[in-house]
């Protein structure tokens, strides 16, 4: 087993372990922190694949943005320190089944897909390249996903504001 395989398994175990702990932890704040580890693990997987731009974006968006927002909204709820109730058994079973089903589905598709190593040289993520790709309207351009994602983030922001706002009841 070469060093890079070892590193891959370490990263993978961090991702999976973080994910499992995130759903099983009964303290909401801890769950958020485990989710954070899982996301950092994914970012390091990208780094491992020399896909640095995506890794950095992953950290900026998910770790620096989403998880902070999640933690912040946990703070705003008053019961952040309480332990959550144990889930009902049939719910836990159902969730496990759903997760297993999704895993199976993903594995199936991955198996079916015939991965081929590209012979093309990797495109250097210079600023110019990134900008062109992001805003290109051609077939492999990213303008549509880019805008959709920005809409999603806007919706998330508004949602946060709505949750955080306190409705002043007239006395």
């Amino acid at each position: 087993m070469s060093a890079s395989t070892v590193i891959f398994y370490i990263i993978a175990s961090v991702i999976i372990g973080g994910g499992i702990l995130a759903v099983t932890s009964r303290k909401i704040f801890r769950a958020a922190v485990f989710l954070l580890f899982s996301l950092i693990g994914i970012a390091s997987l990208y780094f491992y694949l020399n896909y640095e731009f995506l890794a950095a974006v992953q950290i900026v968006v998910y770790v620096g943005g989403i998880v902070v927002l999640i933690i912040f909204s946990i703070f705003l709820t008053h019961a952040s320190g309480d332990e959550m109730k144990k889930p009902v058994l049939w719910r836990a079973v159902f969730s496990a089944l759903a997760a297993a089903f999704a895993t199976a589905l993903t594995l199936l598709y991955i198996n079916e897909h015939n991965f081929t190593a590209t012979a093309n040289a990797t495109v250097a993520p210079t600023v110019k390249n990134i900008g062109l790709q992001m805003l290109s309207t051609t077939q492999h351009g990213y303008i549509l996903p880019f805008e959709v994602v920005s809409m999603l983030l806007l919706a998330a922001l508004i949602g946060c504001i709505v949750i955080a706002i306190k409705i002043k009841t007239k006395e």
């Binding site: 704040f29 943005g65 912040f72």
Partner: protein
């Protein structure tokens, strides 16, 4: 060094691990020494600005004072409050110091001397430094102290919003130099540092970067997260001993990182000071080692940030956010537009 090690250790796994260990040890030793030095420097700077002498008892001119402090902190009880979430409470200092250490990787300390030549250095630094807030939030929440919780809430608002201006001010240089790699940015300043090239947007971006990064690393006048007079220490109220020392060390490493980034991006990193066509002068400047240039610039910025701390009173939380959203962010947005225009039209002031 890489090639030499390659010959010594044929096994790839062994090579990787050896390299990692060597780099890690060197980096850690360097950063601990750096934190020591910055601690001493801060005390002396503060003392001289306050017409005091500063530490002068332990060691010659008080240089070993910080060692004595470290020893004291080492022997203090690493206290964990009973009501704290112990796992997160003990994890938080580690997270904070790790993020501080991670951000130092792509910084070029001298010519061709870099831990990790990543080709998206600027983005990497801003992404890693955005993780620091998690550690503060964790520390503040898990302490189960009301002051800490308020401090953590403040840090969330503060760091997340100031990240925007940091990013935008970095982007204006990225636009002008056309690369995200720190090496390329340094190379682009071979004929003159960005700040001295006479670009107005660069100067504005530099000022905004210094202000926003002071806020990002929670130093006065933006130290609302700690705010001793209001929150008795904020998120680190409950920490003692080595855990507290780790916060302190992380603060100094962060200070070094932002100053190094500012020096690299705006002041040319290890690039010597060159003046137009004066070959003789340029040659003399080249004679000074590049690491001295880098550290000279970095410590100049560190000194300025320290002077901020020892001159200004603290802002209030709403004023802090006003400053960001009403002043820094709109200005830096316009600034990015200006920089883009300049880059496209090829203007040069």
């Amino acid at each position: 060094m890489h090639t030499w090690l390659k010959n010594a250790i044929p096994n790839a796994t062994g090579l990787l691990i050896t390299e990692m260990v060597i780099t890690g040890v060197i980096l850690l030793v360097f950063l601990i020494l750096l934190a020591f030095f910055l601690g001493y420097m801060e005390r002396k700077v503060a003392a001289f600005m306050e017409i005091r002498l500063g530490p002068n008892r332990v060691g010659p001119k008080g240089t070993l004072q910080i060692v004595a402090d470290t020893l004291k902190l080492l022997f203090k009880e690493g206290f964990t409050p009973d009501a704290a979430d112990k796992f997160l409470f003990n994890l938080a200092p580690g997270i904070i110091i790790t993020t501080a250490l991670l951000a130092i990787a792509p910084v070029a300390f001298a010519r061709d001397f870099q831990i990790w030549d990543i080709n998206i250095g600027v983005l990497y630094i801003s992404s890693v430094s955005s993780m620091a807030v998690i550690g503060i939030l964790m520390a503040g929440w898990s302490s189960s102290n009301k002051y800490s919780l308020i401090g953590a809430m403040r840090s969330g608002a503060q760091i997340v919003s100031y990240e925007l201006s940091i990013g935008l001010s970095l982007i204006s240089i990225v636009i002008l130099s056309g690369s995200l790699s720190l090496n390329d940015i340094v190379e682009s300043q071979a004929n003159g540092w960005w700040i001295l090239k006479g670009h107005i947007p660069v100067v504005i971006a530099f000022v905004i970067f210094i202000i926003a990064s002071t806020a990002e690393i929670n130093r006065a006048p933006f130290d609302l997260v700690e705010a001793d007079q209001e929150l008795t220490g904020g998120f680190n109220t409950e920490y003692a001993g080595m855990k507290f020392a780790m916060f302190l060390m992380a603060e100094y490493i962060n200070l070094f990182v932002v100053s190094a980034v500012a020096a690299t991006i705006f002041l040319g990193g290890w690039m010597p000071f060159h003046l137009g066509n004066l070959t003789g002068f340029n040659h003399i400047m080249d004679f000074i080692p590049s690491s001295i240039w880098f550290f000279g610039k970095t410590f100049f910025i560190i000194f300025i940030i320290m002077q901020f701390r020892w001159t200004f009173p603290r802002l209030r939380i709403d004023q802090l956010l006003n400053l960001e959203w009403k002043y820094l962010l709109p200005i830096s947005m316009v600034n990015v537009l200006l920089a883009t225009l300049m880059a496209i039209m090829g203007w040069h002031f």
